[in-house]
């Protein structure tokens, strides 16, 4: 799953770990603010956000040891 840019639809969206005080730590997004998150998180946030842009995955190169080496034809 890739990442998406979302826009906050609700008045306030506090998002983060419970270990810190989200409201005090200003990890609160207001209506109209945008942020990037995983598609999975966007799905979990449901109607609180709207997906405005899909960000393509960066293509990870295949590990060298797995690449097949074709024998040179003379």
């Amino acid at each position: 799953m890739g990442n998406v840019k979302v826009k906050v639809r609700v008045s306030h969206l506090a998002r983060g770990s419970i270990d810190k005080d989200l409201v005090e730590d200003k990890t609160v997004f207001s209506k109209g603010q945008e942020f990037t998150c995983s598609e999975e998180e966007a799905k979990q946030l449901g109607t609180s956000v709207v997906v405005i842009e899909r960000i393509n995955d960066t293509v990870t190169p295949e590990p060298a040891q797995n690449r097949s080496i074709k024998p040179k034809v003379a």
């Binding site: 008045s11 770990s17 109607t47 609180s48």
Partner: protein, 289 residues
């Protein structure tokens, strides 16, 4: 026979409505208007979108005429229903006066219809399973306190609840003056109830204290374990949200296919729509597990 079936249906209504009142969770969460009539298929209502700022001065001056910004919302009123059948011999027994009406099937149908209504009020109405045609309390919430944490850990419930109340407070909802309900999935409900710290102190009294006289309410599996919300109790919540009821639960009899032996069929139904007037007075507590 038609009159007898109608009378039979009335007897069923008497048996159905009292038990349903006990099990309907959605209606206990919001103010319910008196039934407006089944013929009402849609309703126009004002939704407060933004409160304008007040003024302070040493006198009243012209030109400061202001108004609350209200957008007119048009909602179709959905119907919640389920069909049932009752064995003909039970009906014939009732006609003879010697047998009490066995309303088991009708009550079972009514429970199914009630579950649909509960789901519509608590979560929302979705035809495709993804997009919500009508938002319920959870889907229509105007604030969201989203944190991935285990609710079973002591302190997480009070932190999440305080955070949710804080968000609503920032939107001008008088959280210190109103009782709130915290509505959660059954699994979350029981985890909060049994949450204790290392020396055995329970977390529940703190949670109830924060709710200002409201309750921690389980809605079974109508919400998933990662879903929950905080909303004003029905007693004080009318300015923020209400349930516009057009028809209360009742039965509608159907003529039997076979005049002497055909089972007596019928339909249990209700109709109404949730109106969220100020969504900032509802805050999701999402992603807790």
């Amino acid at each position: 026979m038609t009159n007898a079936i109608v009378e039979f249906s009335k007897q069923l209504d008497k048996k159905i409505v009292p038990p349903l009142r006990q099990v309907l969770k959605g209606r206990q969460l919001v103010h319910v208007t008196p039934p407006a009539g089944f013929g009402v298929t849609s309703v126009d209502w004002g939704k407060i979108t933004e409160m304008s700022a007040g003024y302070v001065s040493f006198g009243f001056s012209d030109g400061n005429t202001d108004k609350i910004d209200i957008s007119l919302t048009h909602s179709k009123v959905p119907v919640y229903w389920k069909d049932y059948e009752i064995d003909r011999r039970i009906y014939e027994g009732w006609l003879r006066g010697g047998v009490d009406v066995d309303a088991a099937n009708a009550i079972a149908a009514a429970y199914q219809a009630a579950k649909v209504e509960d789901s519509a009020l608590i979560n929302g109405v979705s035809n495709d399973g993804t997009n919500y045609d009508i938002s319920g309390l959870y889907q229509g919430a105007g604030n969201d306190y989203n944190t991935s944490s285990s609710i079973a850990t002591f302190g997480v419930a009070t932190t999440a609840l305080t955070g949710a109340l804080n968000l609503m407070d920032d939107d001008g909802v008088p959280v210190d003056r109103m009782p709130f309900n915290w509505v959660v999935n059954s699994s979350t409900y029981h985890k909060i109830r049994k949450s204790r710290d290392t020396i055995g102190t329970r977390e529940l009294p703190d949670v109830l204290d924060l709710l200002n006289g409201g309750q921690l309410i389980s809605v079974g599996t109508t919400l998933t374990s990662a879903q929950g919300f905080v909303s004003p109790t029905a007693a004080v919540g009318e300015p923020y949200v209400d349930y516009y009821l057009t028809a209360d639960f009742q039965t509608d009899p159907k003529q039997p296919e076979y005049q002497k032996t055909g089972p007596i069929g019928g339909r249990v139904f209700s109709a109404g729509v949730l109106r969220i007037k100020q969504d900032v007075a509802i805050c999701k507590t999402s992603n807790l597990s």
